[in-house]
């Protein structure tokens, strides 16, 4: 179990975040560049001093400020950190890189180790046993990681993907109590990234260590995490399952961060009922799906908007499946195997982007349906789901 309650100053804002990650759980911290994600990991790893924090890992307090201040140094934390640069030691072979933490620990224990006054023969036997254990684990892990043939090579000979496999193996052989991944695979191509992510996921599950991935690409966090926390300017805006965060963003800002590009005024949304939403309605986990019929009344429809995600739009009018939007195509360009169509919505200044299987020529009139769009009140908090949202009560 990793518990972190951290407050750390950055140049232009303060990062305030509180996380709990269970053994074997994979938490992803998602947010734009400069949101404070890496800072948070560095505080947990003990490389950055926080203003105020309490960090506990596997029952040990690593950092605590206040009356009985504790700051366990990085080398005693047993926290593994993987960055984009695999950071292999260039003067050591792959085998020595993998066993780096083991060799160091063996050196520290030695004949006068914590075992107390042991006879020389016993000590040697223990060391031999440890060495055999190391070897067995090294062999097994390098098979799993697909680096068994590289043990004698030097790091400079490795490809980027191989170096990352070794770096991961080195952390696992160090028997870390937590695994922190700071956009480790950002520089690699998509298929390699996928393979490595799957590898981490299976090994983290096997070893039951809490792990945190930091990334600024949503797909990457979804491939990894079973829980997603959205961080923006040092604040956790929402935490939940990846699909929950994407489908039910707690606020307009979260929606923007997870890829909602169009915000369309909801026709006939009642302004009066919106006012009733207290601060409590901001919890995005409330799966309140308001009634879909256009029951809301009165002017002020500008105040509630529906978020439109390009990937959650289908062509045609399907009032039973979400919000129907009619408009004029203003642009169209290929995006992968789809077409990214920009549409100016009739009767408002809003434009939405939709990724559709077929191209649409400019100036063409088009009807789209945004599937179950999340709606946001004037203060930006979520007010429900549907064609015309009302406050969930």
């Amino acid at each position: 179990m990793l518990e972190a309650d951290v407050e750390v100053d950055r140049r232009d804002f303060t990062v305030r975040a509180s996380l709990t990650v269970a053994p074997g759980e994979r938490l992803a911290l998602f947010g734009p560049s400069g949101a404070g994600k890496t800072t948070l990991l560095e505080v947990i790893a003990g490389m950055v001093a926080p203003r105020r924090a309490r960090i506990a890992l596997a029952g040990r307090v690593l950092t605590s400020t206040g009356k009985s201040a504790t700051a366990v140094p990085p080398w005693q934390r047993k926290v593994g950190l993987l960055r984009q640069d695999p950071g292999l030691f260039p003067h050591l072979s792959i085998r020595d890189n993998l066993l780096y933490a083991r060799r160091g620990r063996a050196g520290r224990v030695g004949p006068a180790g914590p075992a107390g006054p042991v006879a020389g023969a016993d000590g040697a036997e223990g060391a031999d046993g440890a060495a055999a254990g190391n070897l067995a684990e090294l062999t097994e892990l390098s098979e799993i990681l697909g680096i068994a043939g590289l043990l004698a090579a030097m790091p400079a000979r490795l490809s980027g993907g191989q170096a990352h496999r070794v770096a991961l193996g080195r952390l696992l052989l160090a028997h870390c109590d937590a695994l922190l991944l700071d956009e480790p695979y950002a520089g690699l191509d998509a298929s390699l990234r996928r393979t490595l992510t799957d590898l981490v996921v299976s090994l983290v599950g096997q070893r039951r260590v809490p792990s945190i991935l930091v990334a600024h690409e949503l797909a990457e966090t979804q491939a990894f995490a079973d829980r997603l926390a959205v961080l923006d300017r040092g604040q956790i805006l929402q935490a939940g399952s990846p699909s929950e965060v994407v489908l039910r963003p707690a606020s307009r800002r979260v929606a923007e961060l997870v890829g909602y590009t169009g915000f369309v005024p909801v026709p006939g949304s009642g302004s009066g009922s919106d006012r009733g939403s207290g601060p409590g309605s901001g919890s995005g986990s409330s799966p309140g799906s308001g009634p879909r019929s256009g029951r809301g009344s009165g002017p002020g429809s500008e105040e509630t908007v529906a978020g439109v995600h390009p990937d959650r739009v289908i062509g045609g009018r399907h009032p039973d499946r979400g919000l129907v939007l009619a408009g004029v195509v203003t642009g169209c360009r290929p995006a992968g195997a789809l077409w990214e169509v920009t549409v100016r919505v009739s009767g408002s200044r809003a434009t939405v982007v939709a990724r559709l299987p077929e191209a649409a020529p400019s100036e063409q009139e088009i009807a789209l349906t945004a599937l179950d769009p999340p709606c946001f009140g004037p203060d930006g908090t979520a007010v429900g789901i549907g064609e015309t949202a009302t406050v969930p009560r």
Partner: protein, 254 residues
Amino acid sequence: MGLAGTGVIWIALLGPVIALLTHLSWHAITTSLSAPGAFDPLVLSAESGAVTLGVLVLLGTPLAWALARGGLPFPRVWEAGVLASLLLPPLVIGLLLVFMIGPYTPIGHLLSGLHLSATDTFLALVIAQVYESAPYYVLGAQAAFSSVDPRLEQQAALLGDPPRRAFRRVTVPLAAPGLAMALAIAWARAMGAFGAVVIIAYHPTGLPLQIWTTLQETGLPSALPYALVLLVVALPLPIAAYIWSARARGRRRG
């Protein structure tokens, strides 16, 4: 064109060595070096050079490390201190050392209280050599340490190494080729130290001074063999260091 130009410069730089080898006669070597005590300057230079290197490693390495990792307040001031002994002409250093540690200075008094003297002694020779070679070692070692990625040291820490152990297991091995070169250059400077030495350590006579006095007393031909000896003593370490560091870098490339 470029190759030819580079070749000319290379030959010009090697010119003195070529001149030495072409002007040495076997007869001159044997007569000069068979004189009684002819190897004393060599032994003295090697001994004082070894002590100088020890002092440099012991005192210069931490300074170079601190300079490289920016652990010092006002780093420019510290660097200026190192550069001072590089930029001052050795002769001037020698003169100033007399005012600093000569027999009539506070430090001189202190030393004589310990039955030591920093004028015309082995100690004086070592001090003069340290002043002439230290900047070469410190600046070279600083560059060697700077070339080690601090993130590797951080990684070693996260893998369980306290700073000292990370320094021993990661920093030193990675900086070793550069450190060896810095040490080798410092050795060559210490062996050839003359300017400061001639003022505060005229006696006992090391190799450079032996060359100077032989030149003064018996002329150029009999001084040349000592020049050869000086080269033979001063150069192997730099050459070995160069070869070793090139090979170490090669190994790292896999």
